[in-house]
Assembly symmetry: none
Homo-oligomer: 121 residues x 2
């Protein structure tokens, strides 16, 4: 049933998260695999959840995708959830609010768009 029906991609697995991040970065599997120094078939299998990569592969992939290793581990469920950086859904709004580069108008616009995306489709 519907993976997308909640209006968002709630990552069922680490693999889906990685795939989404890879596509966000506009990288092909071979490109990402090359940067992360792993083989492309293995990346394929990881993204489909067939294997759970070891920590240093995870770190390598995180680096290649320019996201922090901590975020990666959090997604992999390998950090104790005491951190609470990814889970809270005011994360985006909060980040917008405290961004010193944005004007108040811009913040309001971004938050409005963000809410339109998340407020049920």
């Amino acid at each position: 049933m519907s993976e997308e029906e909640k209006g968002g991609t709630a990552w069922r697995s680490l693999g889906e998260f990685i795939r989404a991040q890879r596509e966000l970065a506009n990288l092909s599997m071979r490109q990402l695999a090359e940067i992360a120094k792993i083989s492309n078939p293995y990346l394929s299998q990881v993204e489909r959840g067939l294997y759970k990569p070891s920590a240093d592969v995870l770190k390598s992939i995180a680096n290649a995708l320019q996201i922090s290793a901590e975020t990666m581990y959090a997604q992999a469920g390998l950090l104790d959830d005491s951190k609470g950086e990814a889970g809270s859904h005011h994360g985006v709004e909060h980040a917008i609010k405290i961004d010193p580069q944005l004007t108040v108008d811009q913040k309001e616009a971004l938050i409005r768009i963000y809410r339109s995306f998340t407020s049920k489709g």
Copy 2:
């Protein structure tokens, strides 16, 4: 670069760190292995640096020793670099990327808008 220069107590290896923590907690190998749900021979091998444990074993050991998983990963050298966004202005972009409620398309849209705001100031 050696780990020594990171200041403070420098453990030559993850195994030595684990062993020291275990002894500090006055636990035998079998006791710790039991709590961490791993076998005691394996723990022995890990402490002597013969094998590098996977992330979830690491987490389990950290849990059993009542130290944070992050400390463990840092000791394992799995967190140290990855400065992908730590110091840069990616706070908002990062929050967007890891938000599970957004679809990939929505993320792209938001990030594009955000960049358009921040690129010209």
